[in-house]
């Protein structure tokens, strides 16, 4: 215990940072510090979120009326392609896996930095280059890629999608793909080799666990995507015929390759956010996570199953064994259900603090569960025949993916912002942002389920009056604009916290894990000293010795004999 108590004085030594290398813009450009790179990732991906969100606003404006004329059909196709690509490749993944994981994971396991700091910097710069490359598509002759984020062959071949825009898209995906692979190598190595003494695997916070599992999934899935992109590029420019029928290739092979990446990708995007929520529920319930090991094994089960479900995106191709993929897809509902019940179990009997991070985490829980219900339905092949490629699917994946990334993402942002900057965000504005975003987000996507059931296909800029979906689309669009507005409240909140800072202190939320054992923001080498790690919650144990985890059994009753291990 003495080690821990000495820490607070040492950590506040004036500007330990100042002695380490450059400052200002030069620091942001050259740093290999995981905290700086993490912030770089976070702010860059939030900028991409704003750009992709603006595209969504144009898309929704176009759909307010059956024959909208806001943009041309070509521009519309480019917009939803780049909107989807940016949200998935440039926001949802990098925000959590590049941003939060980079900043938080080494702190949570008591490490001074990532295992490969320079590789980490390379990852970020590849990501930024890739993102910029994708946006460049709008400025070239023929426009950006317009074949959807799934880029189905042979629509994505040179015959049907000529011009440099699609090539820029392919190069962008390859660059961000490598960025993801390098970050995965880095994070997994860091978690395996740089844990502080006492931090066993089963004492790692759930957030760290989820990042490790995500990293492994990335190492399985991303090389497939990169290979597929290289094949696509070769088909376009080098005269190969991987995906063209005329040369003996198979368009369905593209779908197999893409979704063999694409379905693990869904969990690569979601698991980090599940990790964020799993950190927030316990802290704001003042309880340990309920069923820690069950949660870890559920995460591993999701990862394992996710590599065997890709063809549920291909039910209507008539080329896949439906019962096999239906069975595996449906099975994923079991570990996912475990997670949901674990979170409810964590809140059960707690002392709930309805601060902004908990509100956003609850928003995630509700939205994600709704999307989960429609997901289980879509796993059934016959039902998928009826709604495949309609707005039902659009509503489903926005509720599970965008709902997860935005609500759990902002939950994490509000939760760790004090650690990132040493400042607090304004609580009132945060709550206002949450309520507007939560109501507006569901107002956007619940009508889309109904539009899909009525028969509105996705990726269409115009629809028929006789489809009876005009009113649903108008409600959806108003919801989308309000969701967009809620982000402006967040920007205002950021600006206020920048101009009139409220100091956060080391541990404003009574946090449980090691990142709260250092100063806010942490010094260059993270920790001057660590509290003893005897459980999953070292900082809680230190701050609440009478309730410390190593003194109680799993059901919360005190152990007869306390032997710190």
């Amino acid at each position: 215990m003495t080690i821990a108590e000495e820490r607070s004085e040492l950590a506040h030594e004036p500007e330990a940072d100042a002695q380490h290398g450059p400052t200002g813009i030069y620091k942001w450009l050259t740093s290999t510090d995981h905290k700086v790179i993490g912030k770089n990732y976070m702010y860059t991906s939030l900028v991409f979120l704003m750009i992709a969100g603006a595209m969504a606003m144009i898309i929704r404006a176009q759909l307010v009326q059956p024959n909208g004329h806001i943009v041309s059909q070509q521009m519309y196709n480019e917009l939803f392609t780049i909107h989807g690509s940016m949200m998935l490749y440039l926001f949802a993944g990098p925000f959590a896996f590049g941003g939060f994981a980079n900043f938080i994971l080494p702190l949570q396991i008591g490490a001074p930095d990532m295992a490969f700091p320079r590789l980490n910097a390379l990852s970020y710069w590849l990501y930024l280059t890739g993102g910029t490359t994708m946006l460049m598509g709008f400025f070239v002759n023929g426009g950006a890629a317009a074949f959807g984020w799934v880029s189905y062959a042979p629509l994505s071949s040179y015959t049907y999608s000529p011009g440099p825009g699609p090539d820029l898209w392919i190069v962008a995906i390859i660059l961000t793909g490598f960025s993801g692979i390098f970050t995965a190598v880095n994070l997994v190595t860091t978690a395996f080799y740089l844990r502080a003494p006492g931090m066993t695997m089963f004492r790692m916070p759930i957030f760290t666990w989820n990042m490790v599992v995500t990293g492994i999934l990335i190492l399985i899935a991303f090389p497939i995507l990169t290979a597929a992109m290289v094949m696509l590029y070769a088909d376009r420019h080098l005269g190969t015929h991987f995906f063209t029928v005329a040369g003996g290739g198979s368009p369905v092979m593209w779908q197999n390759l893409f979704w063999f990446f694409g379905h693990p990708e869904v969990y690569i995007l979601a698991l980090p956010y599940f990790g964020i929520a799993s950190e927030i529920f316990p802290v704001f319930a003042k309880k340990p996570i309920f069923g820690y090991k069950g949660l870890v094994f559920a995460t591993l089960a999701i990862a394992g199953l996710s590599t065997g479900v890709w063809a549920h995106h291909m039910y209507t191709t008539g080329t896949v064994l439906l019962p096999f993929f239906a069975a595996l897809s449906l099975l994923i509902a079991v570990p996912t259900g475990i997670k949901v019940f674990t979170w409810i179990g964590t809140l059960w009997g707690g002392n709930l603090q309805f601060r902004v991070p908990l509100l956003f985490a609850l928003g995630f829980l509700v939205t994600f569960t709704m999307g989960g219900f429609s997901g289980v339905m879509l796993a059934s092949p016959p039902f998928d025949f009826a709604v495949h490629d309609t707005y039902f699917v659009v509503a489903h994946f926005h509720q599970v993916l965008a709902g997860t990334a935005i609500f759990a993402g902002f939950a994490g942002f509000y939760y760790w912002y004090p650690k990132l900057t040493g400042r607090m965000m304004r609580e009132g504005l945060g709550k206002l942002q949450f309520w507007i975003a939560f109501i507006a987000f569901n107002m956007t996507f619940i009508p889309q389920y109904l539009a899909g059931l009525r028969g509105m296909p996705r990726r269409i800029p115009v629809y028929l009056v006789s489809d009876h979906v005009t009113f649903l689309n108008q409600v959806s669009s108003v919801g989308a604009f309000l969701t967009g507005f809620s982000f402006l409240i967040w920007l205002l909140n950021l600006w206020i916290s920048w101009r009139r800072p409220i100091p956060a202190g080391d541990n404003p939320w009574d946090g449980h894990t090691l990142e709260w054992a250092t100063s806010s923001p942490p010094p260059h080498h993270n920790f001057t000293s660590l509290p003893p790690i005897r459980s999953q919650r070292p900082v809680w144990d230190k701050n609440h010795p009478e309730y410390a985890d190593y003194t109680t059994d799993h059901d919360g009753t005190p152990k007869k004999e306390v032997e710190p291990r």
Partner: protein, 263 residues
């Protein structure tokens, strides 16, 4: 965008099939509540989906209906539980430390096993419906070849009659009611999606791969069909219509088309 006014099944046959789920006295208040809930698009018992104007589609619709009943039960349990927790445990003093329970193996087993049973049930229902929907009749009354291309459709009947998209006109496919039509679906260029919302059915038209499926319309009327899989610039306008007529009318139509009207 070209003008297109179809008589959809909303007007055609909605009143024909209504499950006796709702007592007559409750219909009006429930329908009003349902209308408010479901905005403008649906009535209560179909939960917003087309009831399926083919036997295959209707099987899919029935499956959807069962799913919705299951979702309602699961949602009440899950969200009810969550709401209870938020209300019950949301009003304590700030500094109070609650009981520090880490796990409860019994409860964890329950919330693992029950979802597993539910998805098991969904699996068996799905497979049995899928077997009906995907079944191909050995002796269909009609063999129809559908060819998708950028951005139109060609419907080729056995006697050589061929209906094809031409300029401003969307093609119309004609099917006999109550008879099984075996469809051969191909694509000339990119991947398209053959989709008829009123039939609750879609299937990809793939280049280099032929798909077969059966359609057995069980309701007269004209329905919208469209391409559901993004296929390029004019994907949204790749529409067609389906007219379901009696077998006698169908035969008359087919022989009248046979006389030199092939395109």
């Amino acid at each position: 965008m070209k003008k297109l006014n179809f008589r959809t099944d909303t007007q055609a046959g909605r009143s024909g099939r209504r499950l006796a789920l709702v007592r007559p006295g409750w219909r009006i208040p429930l329908a009003l509540g349902g209308a408010a809930l479901a905005l403008s698009a649906c009535n209560v018992t179909d939960f917003g989906m087309h009831t399926g104007a083919t036997t295959q589609g209707h099987d899919i619709f029935s499956l959807y209906q069962t799913f919705i009943y299951m979702v309602i039960v699961v949602a009440v349990v899950t969200f009810g539980g969550l709401l209870y927790v938020l209300v019950r445990f949301g009003r304590r003093k700030d500094d109070q430390v609650p009981h520090q329970r880490h796990s409860n193996v019994k409860i964890e087993i329950i919330y693992t096993v029950i979802p597993a049973i539910i998805v098991g049930a969904i699996f068996f229902m799905s497979v049995s419906t899928e077997n009906k929907v995907d079944a191909i009749s050995p002796n269909p009354s009609l063999n129809l070849t559908i060819t998708a291309f950028q951005w139109g459709w060609r419907f080729t009947y056995p006697n050589g009659v061929s209906i094809v998209s031409q300029g401003e006109n969307y093609p119309q496919m004609v099917l006999p009611e109550g008879e099984t039509t075996k469809v051969k679906l191909v694509s000339k260029d990119v991947v398209h999606g053959f989709y008829i919302a009123a039939f609750d059915f879609s299937r990809y038209a793939l280049p280099g791969f032929t798909n077969y499926f059966d359609l057995t319309p069980n309701r007269l009327g004209t329905f919208v069909g469209r391409c559901s899989q993004l296929c390029g610039l004019y994907h949204a306008e790749m529409l067609f219509s389906v007219r379901v007529v009696t077998p006698a009318q169908f035969n008359a139509w087919l022989s009248s088309q046979g006389k030199g009207a092939t395109a």
